[in-house]
């Protein structure tokens, strides 16, 4: 039965996902409704109060994470779109080299990269130290342990994930369609607004998804570059799990975050992914 071959070949991956994704998520969902502690053990009580308690306790960090993730995503979009555009339309035969450069940072571990950013931004580090030495910056100026540092780190770490999908979408735009727009009396700006941008929206959507979600949930940047007032929800999950061993609370926070992100993405998809936006752009 040759027509079953694709299914058989896909089976290991499905099993892998089922065992290592669905099962743990289900287990976590179950844990999030238990009560107890590490010493006495946890018992399933279907206690929904875990959620309301967690939200009440950590709403500040949750909102902060969404704001940081959102701001970082917007900055990445603003920085990344022109880069993707430039590589897709202007880089010529050196395209693959620039794509490689874009991926180069990934050859260094995520944590290490963030830590080296820490060195770079340290109060008396290479950058600030030098600038202070020159008298360009006041002596008490600091970046580390501020919102700017955390969002900057998020932007730095996730930027390629914004650029790549936009690049792929732009690369697929037929240059003759752009010429057709010029031919039909559209200016450069108008061509971008009516033709290039709408055709790249699927890439923008993917890019936003691939950056907003991990950036919002990321604990590393806040931990390495942030201070006590920059704690993000990822740090809370980490602390509750690994330090406090409060598994129900940690699970409840994780699920809350997941739900918020899913709802946000759903609204975003409805706004951007549907034909309405495209039709508006066609006018």
């Amino acid at each position: 039965m040759r027509r079953w071959t694709p299914y058989w070949l896909a089976l290991p991956a499905w099993l892998w996902l089922a065992i290592f994704l669905v099962v743990p998520i289900a287990a976590m969902a179950s844990v999030s409704l238990t009560t107890g502690n590490l010493i006495d053990g946890f018992t399933q009580t279907f206690s929904v109060s875990n959620y309301s308690d967690a939200i009440a306790k950590y709403s500040t960090q949750l909102v902060r994470s969404l704001v940081y993730g959102g701001v970082a995503t917007v900055i990445m979009l603003v920085l990344g779109y022109p880069v993707a555009y430039w590589i897709a339309f202007k880089a010529g035969h050196r395209k693959s080299m620039f794509l490689f450069l874009l991926l180069l940072p990934f050859f260094v571990s995520f944590v290490l990269r963030t830590i080296s950013w820490g060195f770079l931004l340290a109060d008396d580090g290479i950058l600030l130290g030098t600038l202070k030495g020159w008298g360009v910056l006041p002596q008490d100026f600091h970046v580390l342990a501020t919102t700017v540092a955390v969002i900057g780190g998020l932007v730095y770490n996730f930027l390629p994930f914004m650029i790549l999908p936009i690049y792929v979408a732009l690369e697929r735009v037929d240059p003759r369609v752009i010429e057709a727009s010029y031919d039909l009396y559209a200016s450069r700006l108008s061509t971008f607004r009516r033709v290039v941008l709408p055709l790249s929206l699927p890439g923008v959507f993917a890019g936003v998804l691939m950056t907003f979600v991990p950036a919002t949930a990321d604990p590393i940047n806040a931990q390495v570059l942030g201070g006590t007032s920059n704690t993000m929800i990822g740090n809370i999950v980490q602390t509750e799990y690994l330090v406090n061993n409060d598994y129900p609370t940690a699970s409840a926070i994780s699920f809350t975050l997941m739900a918020v992100l899913l709802i946000g993405i759903f609204i975003y998809a409805r706004a951007l992914g549907t034909e309405n936006v495209l039709e508006a752009a066609a006018r």
């Binding site: 003759r176 057709a180 727009s181 039909l184 200016s187 006018r283």
Partner: protein
């Protein structure tokens, strides 16, 4: 058609590219005028410069030298969005994110035409191209022929001074292509706009054009109406490129009035109009369908050559003979399929080929 102000005028247009550090001339000096309302074709093999020439008319390329004029006005350095010329692209280049109506209205909206007028004009043009009722379709939901007509409507709705068509029928299958040829001709008559048609398909150019510029290697080889191009090719290249041609080469034996007497083999005697002196070598051409094939010696006053039938191919409406002359030259002869489907000669037979002197031409 008023000939005084030509719709399009190219004056000594040259286009050079830099490729791998070397300057390449894609167009080596083209001058031509296209009359208002004319169906004009740029015909040639790929790489002959026809597309580059058209892109310079559209404004996508700036000529290295020379002028492009539109209705007498110099538009050489005017960008495409400021030129009253529209283009139908080879792969249609429809906006994939817009429906038919939006595609067609695009140009008028950019020109800030009033919404009511846009509605009127888009409706009218969709009727002309027979797409009324499909306004809400997306390009990908349509067949190649329909997309083709959307592309046509999208350009024509702007009532440009001239419409440029870049191999617009290339992606269609034969049947649809033939249908669209007739259709294009009808639409051109109906709207009365100058059409500049770029193609490598000689039959397409011959069928539709008022005049054809045959291009080769960045230059115009011949500019004439289809009949002239076919019947009196000006160069070896044109003769070879348009239809099937027999190319012969021989020595002028004598000059008889305005006819040259050219000898090939012992029994051969070719009469051809031309200017040459006895002893000169001349190239000449004759179309396969102008040649009569017979087993008996033809009457005097005709050009005649003797040869042996090689391949005989049955092609439905006609038979094609490949006849080898004594010097090895192969001549193709088309013979209309007779009522009784008989053939004059078979493979291996010795035959006479003859044609009227005025059906052959010397080539430069």
């Amino acid at each position: 058609m008023p000939e005084d102000v030509p719709a399009i005028e190219l004056d000594g247009v040259v286009k050079e590219y830099l490729a791998h550090g070397e300057t390449v001339q894609a167009v080596k000096g083209v001058s031509l005028t296209i009359g208002e309302g004319e169906f004009f074709s740029l015909l040639g093999p790929s790489g002959c410069g026809k597309t580059t020439t058209m892109r310079m008319i559209a404004g996508f390329e700036e000529p290295t030298k020379g002028l492009v004029k539109l209705l007498g006005q110099d538009v050489t350095n005017v960008p495409p969005n400021k030129r009253d010329i529209n283009m139908v692209f080879q792969s249609y280049a429809l906006f994939p994110h817009m429906n038919v109506w939006e595609n067609v209205a695009f140009g008028l909206r950019r020109k800030k035409v009033a919404e009511a007028e846009i509605k009127q004009r888009v409706g009218d043009i969709l009727e002309i191209v027979d797409l009324t009722g499909r306004e809400k379709r997306r390009p990908r939901e349509m067949s190649g022929g329909q997309q083709q007509r959307v592309a046509l409507a999208r350009a024509l709705v702007n009532r440009p001074r001239a419409l440029l068509l870049d191999e617009p029928l290339g992606a269609l299958d034969l049947k649809l292509r033939q249908q669209m040829q007739t259709e294009l001709k009808r639409i051109q008559r109906e709207v009365g706009i100058t059409f500049v048609y770029v193609t490598h398909d000689q039959s397409e150019a011959l069928t539709m054009s008022d005049r054809i510029a045959v291009m080769n290697d960045g230059l115009v080889e011949q500019l004439a109406d289809p009949r002239e191009i076919y019947e009196r090719p000006a160069s070896k290249f044109v003769a070879g490129f348009i239809g099937t041609s027999n190319l012969l080469s021989g020595t002028v034996d004598a000059v008889d009035g305005d006819l040259l007497v050219v000898r090939l083999g012992e029994h051969d005697r070719i009469l051809v109009p031309g200017q040459a002196a006895a002893g000169d070598t001349v190239d000449l051409t004759v179309r396969p369908e102008k040649i009569t094939i017979s087993t008996e010696r033809p009457e005097a006053g005709l050009s005649m050559v003797q040869g042996t039938v090689g391949e005989l191919t049955y092609l439905g409406t006609y038979n094609s003979y490949a006849v080898a002359l004594a010097d090895g030259t192969e001549i193709t002869v088309f013979q209309q399929n007779a009522i009784d489907s008989s053939t004059t000669a078979e493979r291996g037979d010795t035959v006479w080929l003859s044609w009227r002197p005025q059906h052959s031409y010397t080539l430069s």
